[in-house]
Amino acid sequence: MKIIQQIFFILGFYVLGEFLARGISYVIPSIIVPGTLLGMLLLLIALTTKVLKMEAVEDMGAFLTGNMSFFFIPAAVSILEYTDLLAQTIVQIIIVITVTLLLSFLAVAYSVKWTLRIQQLHKQRKDQTHG
């Protein structure tokens, strides 16, 4: 019963998110939001405002996020349909991935590093004026 309830809550927020996403697209057709992300946002709000207790979804959530790659097996197997396409483009794909991965890694690393440094300087200055 406990697990059934947890599955219900997570499925429920997913359905709610999809429902909301469709509602938004209906009102403003140019906006297409992923319903799953809206569901996540709703669950986030429900948990932080304590409308929903963490215990009500915790185990099922840990099961899903802890075994994430398992749920992609069907999608990964369907690559069989695209073997020709993949064989033709795999070199380009790997080049694009590697180059853009290095760029985004450096972008993340240095933007975070500099943000931390600015925050630190800011804090030091604040401490000085208060000291």
């Binding site: 948990l47 999608a75 690559i79 396409l85 483009t89 380009q92 890694f105 975070v112």
Partner: protein
């Protein structure tokens, strides 16, 4: 007999079995190319080919597993709530790193992909690579990418990321746990998070947050494409 071996219950049981084997092999070897997803996928492809099972039928048999992809994204809210204190303490760096990383990744793919002669459906399957798989497939679907290609791309990205990032980070003397965690979590997702956890517990915790925020940033930026 052969009919039974092709049945849904055998297919699903083997899916679980191959995944368990994959996890065991990965735990033993820690070799990125032996990830549970890669191993179980290869085994299942072998099983399908060997018994001459039709792919579309097999995928219908496994549709119960696919059903959990949406709820999986929803449940990413849980680690966020649990790590709220850590997020509040590092809020600005997390936001900056996620947005800058997603922008640079998506922008550079949109430039480099067509330059190398890739068709747009291919490019759109690569564009969400800075995002964790469940959000990446969603973004790829919305943009008009090819879902299985998006899955393979995110997987390859994670494998290449965990191999390349730690040695480069070391050489560039990027040792701060927040910097390291953001780098690995944002670019190499769950696999990068596991790697960050091996290096430093705080970096691992930050990486787990980076993976979700990078996915959200990717989805939001994709709205404007």
């Amino acid at each position: 007999m052969a009919e039974f071996l092709r049945s849904q219950v055998v297919g699903i049981t083997l899916t679980f079995l191959f995944y368990i084997i994959g996890v065991k092999i990965y735990q033993k070897t820690k070799f990125p190319l032996f990830s549970p997803l890669i191993i179980s996928t290869l085994f299942l492809i072998g099983y399908i080919q060997l018994l001459g099972i039709e792919l579309s039928g097999f995928l219908t048999d496994l549709s119960g597993i696919q059903l959990f992809l949406g709820p999986l994204v929803v449940s990413l809210a849980i680690p966020i709530v649990k790590k709220m204190d850590l997020i509040k303490r590092n809020f600005i760096p997390i936001i900056v790193g996620s947005i800058v990383g997603a922008l640079v990744s998506m922008g550079s793919i949109l430039i480099l992909g067509p330059l190398l002669g890739l068709e747009m459906d291919m490019v759109y399957s690569i564009v969400p690579k800075q995002s964790t798989t469940p959000i990446a497939v969603e973004v790829s679907d919305l943009l008009g990418g090819i879902r299985p290609i998006a899955v393979v791309v995110v997987l390859l990205t994670a494998v290449i990321g965990v191999v390349l990032i730690p040695p480069i980070a070391k050489r560039l003397k990027l040792s701060d746990p927040v910097v390291l965690g953001m780098s690995l979590g944002a670019t190499a997702h769950a696999m990068g998070t596991a790697k960050a956890l091996e290096i430093d517990p705080e970096a691992g915790a930050i990486a787990g947050i980076a993976l979700v925020f990078s996915g959200i940033a990717t989805a939001i930026i994709a709205l404007f494409l």
